[in-house]
């Protein structure tokens, strides 16, 4: 997308590229490039290197490690990271709880949590969704009842991503059962090691363990772990979800995926030519590339508007980004399955094969699991039906 960028912005992107490809261990990046999942250790290692160089939380307030960058610079930083197959800083820390604490927390709670959150000394997970509170998040039922200097928490959270690796969880809890549904919710930080917290894994159709259920049974939480005001948590949650506007598209990741698809397709023989030269395959690929280029340009348009008018204004184009961006992410995963064909069918934990067997094709292990896994993209962060409703409301004004 160089044609849209200024000379300075291109130089900035180049600087980011150099950083990511020289400072983040090649071992981590090459495993991610082959489609492997980042381990907890990979994510911690790379976030700490970034944090050391001031690149883990560039969008935070400058006193807490922010860089005062433009929206475009922040975007280029994230893009170059993904294109270099670097595990991004943990979003629960840097995109979610960090900005909420930095914006709404007391000085005390900021000092207590922000440095450790930036450095991933604390691994956070998100306690928002409940079995009966999905798209209708405000109907959540987990309660926190004040008793002296403590809240007593009871209830259940679900779809808690990487909760099995988490030290702390930031939760939306109901503190006023009598208030109207959005008004009685608070934003509470809970140490996962507190007695009464139980994590139960949910196995997903890709065979992996990415999400969990978290149960709270008479969990006693110090009242000082409340962020901001009691019963104002819904506003903080809306602020947090608003931060996902452009990042959730992760165009860089889709572009990296497409590059990989092209590389493997160029090595895949079909009759006397390669799959990349097959007209039907190439047409499908090209159409996807066009749409991805369009969404990238749409991201830049949103960032450009943000740079000129600030980020406060809700813009239905943000919903376009989520809706279309997730569909394109999903299409890209599907195309990798097309490339692998029969080689994608076996379920394998690793790419290891017994002696004497040929090496597995790149993608053989991850193509189908990734396709299955990414069905999530049109469900999370406001399902695509919720996004359509937001767009429809904005244009039809109902």
């Amino acid at each position: 997308m160089d044609i849209a960028l200024s000379k300075e912005e291109r130089a900035f992107a180049e600087r980011m590229r150099t950083f990511f490809t020289t400072e983040i261990p090649a071992d981590i990046r090459s495993r991610l490039a082959r489609g492997e999942h980042a381990t907890r250790e990979d994510i911690v290692t790379s976030q700490r290197i970034m944090n050391e160089h001031g690149l883990a939380v560039p969008h935070w307030p400058t006193e807490w490690g922010g860089q005062g960058w433009t929206p475009v610079q922040r975007h280029l930083h994230a893009e170059e990271m993904l294109l270099a197959h670097v595990p991004p800083p943990l979003a629960f820390n840097t995109q979610m709880v960090g900005p909420v604490i930095a914006t709404f927390g007391s000085q005390e709670i900021k000092e207590r949590f922000l440095p450790k959150t930036a450095n991933l000394d604390i691994w956070w997970c998100q306690g928002f969704s409940e079995p009966n509170a999905g798209s209708d998040l405000a109907s959540l039922k987990t309660t926190a009842v004040r008793e002296g200097d403590e809240y007593v928490v009871n209830g259940q959270k679900t779809w808690t991503t990487l909760g099995q690796w988490a030290d702390w969880i930031f939760c939306l809890v109901r503190t006023d059962p009598d208030a109207k549904k959005q008004r009685g919710i608070s934003f509470l930080l809970i140490d996962m090691a507190t007695p009464g917290v139980t994590v139960r894994p949910i196995q997903l159709i890709d065979g992996g363990h990415e999400v969990n259920e978290v149960f709270f049974e008479n969990v006693r939480v110090p009242a000082e772990n409340l962020v901001g005001q009691e019963n104002a948590g819904w506003d903080y949650a809306k602020f947090l979800l608003g931060n996902e506007r452009t990042g959730v598209v992760a165009v860089g990741q889709t572009k990296a995926r497409i590059k990989r698809i092209k590389r493997i397709a160029a090595e895949t023989k079909v009759g006397d030519r390669t799959l990349l030269d097959d007209p039907l395959f190439r047409a499908k690929l090209t159409r996807l590339e066009v749409e991805v280029t369009a969404i990238e340009m749409s991201v830049l348009r949103v960032l450009d508007a943000e740079g000129r008018t600030g980020s406060g204004k809700p813009d239905p184009v943000s919903s376009v980004l989520k809706l279309k961006g997730s569909e394109l992410q999903q299409e890209a995963t599907e195309l990798l399955v097309d490339v692998l064909g029969p080689a994608a069918l076996g379920y394998r934990e690793t790419a290891d094969v017994p002696d004497g067997f040929a090496e597995l094709r790149d993608g053989a292990v991850d193509a189908l699991p990734t396709y299955f896994n990414w069905r999530k993209a049109s469900i999370y962060s406001g399902s695509n039906e919720v996004q359509r409703t937001i767009i429809a409301k904005a244009i039809l004004k109902f």
């Binding site: 849209a4 007209p279 090209t286 590339e289 749409s298």
Partner: protein, 372 residues
Amino acid sequence: MELDLTDEQRMLADAVKSLLDKRYDANARLALLQSDEGWSRDLWKQYAELGLLGLTFDEQYGGAGMGVGELAVVMEQFGRALVLEPFVATVVLGGQLVAAAGTPEQKAAILPGVAGGERLLAFAATEANSRWSLTDLETTATQSSGSWTVSGEKIAVLGGDVADTFIVTARTGDGSIGLFLVSGDAVARDAYKQQDGLGGADVLFTDAAAEPLGSVADALGHVESVLDVATAVLCSEAVGAMDRMLWLTVDYLKTRQQFGQPISVFQALQFRAADMFVSLEQARSMALMARLALADDDIAGRRRAVQAAKIQVDGSSRHVGQEAIQLHGGIGMTMEYPVGHYVKRTAVIAKTFADTDTLVEAVGAGGGLIGD
């Protein structure tokens, strides 16, 4: 990064919009469509006065000396109003071909008349058997005792019904392809209105007296380059048209009552309107990219961007257009209601210069858009 219009571009857009708001509402346009010529010579003069007809020509030839990006800005407004005047034929294609390929004498002879609104041009390239190819042609140019003649039949010549001067592609004796100027008096025309109401013609050249436009050796490069610009500005025109289709549809959903309530309360319709918005925004992004790409010195990169833009824009306008009619119901099918006219124009754009399959093949064969 600067994606918004410049102040100068915004002023240009506002000036065009304010003229069209006054003169080109749906009823005025319908009346024009049904008039003898099908467009307005009076408005053509006003475009000349606004400087639109010489927008990109050098000032020494009566032009305004603006860039091709400004053409896109004008065309988006033209798309909103569905302008019927032969602007693409005369200014975007003909004028730019003369400006790019012509000798100084030819530019001096032709461009001031174009900028002033006195001379209409048409670019005749397509033939019955050429489909989207610029080089697969049978029309010949023959030189004898110093003068040239052109023979052959061209089809789908935009603005060919009224052109004073034709710019024709033809194969010369040595097999190369040149551009030739032929007077409108020297041809036979089968004139018609295109499906979208714009004028067109099939044109027969029979030993028609001709003059090479610039040098034959450079002709094809100039044609390709002007078509890149033309493709990019058609993308802008289509985005203008699509934007109108979306908002006409939205307004209709809010006002049309059935079952005692506005039909905008039905989620089946809300979601389809939302998807139209998505398609429009994707197209807007790519038309913007094409406009920015026109300033790119890298010819291959610029062509790829423009081709990609048209793939997206044509796909989006098909979706938006079909849905616009469906969500309107029967009224969308009528000549008296504007939305169908937008559908017709964008359907023609989708088959102008190149169609989607051809563009997808071209972009794919060139290695695509995303690479190392």
